[in-house]
């Protein structure tokens, strides 16, 4: 048994990936607060360290010292496990995203697209169980709204992913980035990018689809009964989802780790991926700052009556183009 390649290296890569993701999450909160503030013509946090760079540290220390209250009326085992269940899928999608030539982040399972869809489906469980175990009307409503929104936008998401798959030819994301693409494929995929982005916004419960967690609706939705570290885990799950889905979009639509000289200097691959992810995160925050929230029924109508037909038509046209031009 090849201990080194099968056990040791993946474990090391996992540890490095966790550290990178958790630091990334902390500084994503900083990035979002500062950028959102600049969109609102004000300063973000700038007291904790120069430019507020120690603000995430201050938040982490506060969350750690906060009193952990487990309300007496909750369903304890599920209540305690729900935040972890929300966080784990967000972390494990990274396993298949390529970060350099021939290098997936952890291991190339050969079924990258399916992995993404399957794990994205798991993400709803954390929310539903959180709302259910809280034994609270409003948490339950928030959780149900959130899960209905997520699964109804997973359908167009899947359709667009299948369209990319048709053009790619193989399930593996590593092959997707390694193989060269024709110019018309790039343009056709960029037509799909705005719709895919909207589906991702709904998947990650991000503005303008953040009804489950806005302060002025439903208190805090499914997160109402959670405080301290458990709340931080939900928060972490949402932001790591943002980073993960940005990385997925960068890989599918913008070439992942590719860039000038990326093949010669292998370390440039992750750098280019980082830059693309940061640009997409800027897009996330920009959308949050600019667009108002649709009402819940408007949201569902948009998903089912507009995005789903668009997805089907797009997939059909992609199939025709793939047959004709490949």
């Amino acid at each position: 048994m090849d201990w080194l390649n099968l056990i040791v290296f993946p474990i090391l890569r996992t540890v490095v990936l966790f550290l990178v993701l958790l630091t990334g999450f902390a500084y994503l909160t900083w990035f979002e607060r500062k950028l959102l503030a600049r969109f609102h013509v004000r300063y973000g946090p700038n007291r904790a360290g120069k430019f507020g760079l120690l603000q995430p540290v201050a938040d982490a220390v506060k969350a750690m010292f906060k009193e952990e209250i487990v309300p007496s009326h909750v369903d304890k085992p599920i209540y305690l496990i729900a935040p972890a269940l929300a966080l784990i899928p967000a972390l494990i999608i990274w396993a298949v995203i390529p970060v350099a030539k021939d290098t997936p982040a952890i291991a190339d399972v050969g079924i990258g697209f399916l992995w993404i869809l399957a794990v994205a489906g798991l993400e709803s469980y954390g929310l539903i169980l959180a709302g259910w175990s809280s034994n609270n009307n409003y948490s339950l409503l928030g959780a149900l709204r959130s899960s209905a929104q997520m699964i109804s936008y997973e359908l167009p998401l899947g359709l667009f992913l299948v369209s990319v798959l048709i053009l790619a030819g193989s399930f593996s994301l590593v092959d997707l980035v390694d193989n060269p693409r024709a110019w018309w494929e790039w343009l056709w995929l960029w037509v799909a990018f705005p719709f895919f982005f909207i589906c991702i916004l709904a998947e990650t419960n991000r503005s303008p689809f953040d009804l489950p967690e806005t302060e002025n609706e439903l208190v805090a939705g499914y997160q109402t009964e959670y405080g301290g570290i458990k709340f931080s885990l939900f928060y972490m799950a949402e932001y790591i989802n943002m980073i993960t889905t940005s990385a997925i979009m960068a890989t599918l639509f913008f070439g992942g780790w590719r860039g000038p000289f990326a093949e010669e200097f292998v370390w440039l691959g992750p750098v280019y991926l980082f830059i693309k992810v940061v640009v997409l995160l800027f897009l996330f925050v920009w959308v949050r700052a600019s667009i108002s929230r649709p009402r819940y029924d408007q949201l569902m109508r948009f998903g089912w009556k507009f995005l789903l037909p668009v997805g089907i038509v797009y997939m059909a046209i992609t199939a025709v183009l793939a047959v004709l031009l490949k």
Partner: protein, 156 residues
């Protein structure tokens, strides 16, 4: 057709995002208060001050018109006869005790308008926090010697 609605919506969203993007180029309007002075208008009604003439005599002649004009009864004046050798104010009387209760004052400026010698004015200081109720009653000494407020006077 529904499609036209969606296209119009998309254009509106694009314009909204353009507005926020333009905000990035502007300097933030925040005034970081203790480290930067706050701009106020010249007629801003802040903490009271008792003024003097150029030669050092106090303007207040103890006429108690401000106490009469004050809608909340925040001012308390006791007048006394001026000592002819060492006059405190150019007139018959001066204010022996002059107190303003900041907790009752509504900063309307009626006292400033009523004063015949322009003795009591409302300055530009607004940072008047204190720990005891007693400290909110401004005595004559405090009114005669106000500090420098952390403001800049902006043009009208």
């Amino acid at each position: 057709m529904a499609l036209k609605e969606y296209i119009k919506g998309a254009v509106e969203i694009g314009r909204a995002m353009g507005v926020t993007l333009k905000n990035l180029t502007e300097k933030p309007v925040t005034v970081e208060y203790p480290f930067e002075p706050v701009p106020v208008y010249p007629r801003f009604r802040g903490k009271h001050e008792l003024r003097r003439y150029e030669n050092g005599l106090e303007r207040c002649i103890g006429c108690m018109l401000c106490e009469a004009a004050c809608p909340t009864g925040a001012i308390y004046v006791e007048a006394a006869e001026n000592d002819p050798e060492n006059p405190t104010s150019p007139g018959e009387r001066y204010a022996k005790i002059y107190e303003i209760n900041l907790l009752r004052c509504v900063f309307c400026g009626d006292c400033e308008e009523a004063c015949p010698t322009e003795a009591i004015v409302l300055g530009h200081d607004f940072a008047m926090a204190n720990y005891n109720r007693r400290d909110f009653i401004l005595t004559k000494e405090e009114l005669l010697n106000p500090g420098e407020p952390n403001v800049i006077i902006r043009p009208e």
